[in-house]
Symmetry: C2
Subunit: 325 residues, 2 copies
């Protein structure tokens, strides 16, 4: 708490020193206690200049997924109202799931700098190198039935794609159901998990894994990162993970509140406008079969409509899509 | 293990004593060890006569929901392949859910003699007086998407209603989505819970609470039990809880394997044939509204079709049905 107070004061005067007397008065703690808290902030990665005569000055903030940074001027009401961050977890989705089972509020965001067992869809792995990505899980508690889940997933894909576009300028596209691609390579995966009764959802965990600073060789084949794509585009821009995380949270807030106000049609329209697939030839890999055809449409219920070569339209609820070149 | 072996030998000769020498030979343990195991069986409720000269004889088996009894000549392949039983738990669904999260096999059945926090739909309570009912949860791992869950729920209702009819002779009926009624009163509730990804179910917990020996005054208003209904029908039959539990497990096995073989149409037809509602005037209570009309049909997707007074047909996915008299 004192850490946060001191940080807030230092943030307000980025160009000037704040004397330790002033910090003592504002925080109501002693000079030596102020010093201790400054040391704690430094340990978190804040660069703070200390001058015996002038006092303290904030030089640089860390690009870390810590609550103080992610929540700073975040401006959302629901998503990110609480932020928990960890140096390393097995899986942010598992952490969030356990918290949700114990009743934690909607909008709680779990972040980690590294995942030992990052999870992809259907028990697959999500490669999560330390400090290279955004590994984020968000607890939602919408009043919907399990059959309405696919729209939540589309909403999440729209929110993340928009955040990536806005923050990086990269042309993020969506591959059904919810991969985010840049230049045809996977930059982000979304894993939706839920606990539900037959006719009502208890909670949903939206897991988002976005590759930010990861190098191509640390990623699986077909994967890419913000850094790699900016480099490929000869763009010298650097993207702060903190800003990226905040952008995703704000975007989720916007799309989720639109969805709750009945805006699913608009979300599906946005999804379609960013789809990497329309009219493309695709192969859908199902547990026991494969179907090939043309990506025809997305239904309002979130299913993929595949046009088989026979002309028959087939609704796909589950499966992996491979683009056929 | 020795308990089970001794029990198996005694079961085989219900009219004769088995000498302790014979038991020693068969179990390869000492006389005093045999005695100790017989004592353990007695503690579980088995009545075993011991005669110094003749040996042991099984007089009566307990009407308890213990694995040795429930699994005896059960004859199923999947459901009840493993049975776990507890004297008292908070909720059999919670126990089964935790086991399923840790990977326990499909078909595992969790039973309890008493629930401290028996769960009904939507966070409600299920009154679970000790040794008066069947409190059972079953782990299923079907390869389906979350939107196919309602059919699993209908399947469970059909299985339980058929088991109640077969074992008790009572005319069990189904109220959407999955209450079992006898003479218009609730005798059984089913709670379906699941963990799922957007497009695939990890596992389903089918929770079944059936009132067997409970007295009317120990049950909530509108509730009834097998015992009360048999009494009302002047039927002197007594129903063993063990037999009832076995009957439900066998019935679940039959309907579930039918469903897996693509028999959902037949299951829905059976559901309709046992429905307490068709053509009845009903009120559907939704979170923020109420709808009144006539129960028109059940759709193949498991939703209820309500005919409003305006003639409009409305699909209902979630909600509580009240019969209007």
């Amino acid at each position: 708490m004192h850490d946060e107070k001191i940080l807030r004061v230092l943030r307000k005067s980025p160009d000037e020193h704040v004397s330790s007397e002033e910090l003592c008065v504002l925080t109501k703690i002693s000079r030596s206690a102020v010093w201790k808290h400054v040391e704690a902030l430094r340990a978190e990665g804040y660069e703070i200049e200390a001058s015996p005569h002038l006092g303290y000055r904030l030089i640089a903030i860390p690009d870390a997924l810590i609550p103080a940074e992610v929540m700073w001027e975040l401006g959302t009401k629901t998503i990110g109202k609480a932020v928990l961050s960890y140096k390393k977890v097995d899986s942010t989705n598992d952490v969030a799931y356990n918290l949700a089972e114990n009743g934690i509020a909607e909008g709680t965001v779990v972040l980690a700098e590294e995942q030992a067992k990052g999870k992809g869809r259907h028990g697959r792995k999500w490669v999560s190198p330390p400090k290279s990505g955004i590994y984020m899980s968000c607890v939602l508690r919408p009043e919907i039935a399990p059959n309405e889940i696919p729209v939540i997933t589309l909403m999440a894909a729209v929110a993340v794609a928009k955040a990536v576009r806005k923050t990086t300028g990269l042309q993020a596209m969506i591959k059904w159901p919810n991969d985010i691609l840049v230049s045809g390579r996977k930059i982000c995966g979304i894993l939706t998990e839920m606990k539900a009764e037959q006719d009502s959802v208890d909670f949903i965990i939206l897991g988002i894994g976005l590759n930010v600073n990861a190098s191509a060789r640390s990623l699986p084949e077909g994967g890419t990162s913000v850094k790699e794509e900016l480099k490929a585009a000869n763009n010298i821009k650097t993207v702060s993970r903190t800003e990226m995380a905040k952008s995703i949270i704000r975007s989720l807030e916007a799309e989720y509140s639109l969805l709750k106000k009945g805006g699913s049609e608009r979300i599906i329209a946005e999804w379609k406008s960013m789809s990497a697939m329309p009219g493309s030839r695709i192969r859908v890999v199902l547990p026991n079969a494969e179907l090939e055809g043309v990506a025809h449409d997305i239904d309002p219920d979130g299913s993929l409509v595949l046009r088989l070569d026979s002309g028959i339209l087939k609704k796909i609820w589950s499966g992996d899509v491979v683009m056929v070149r």
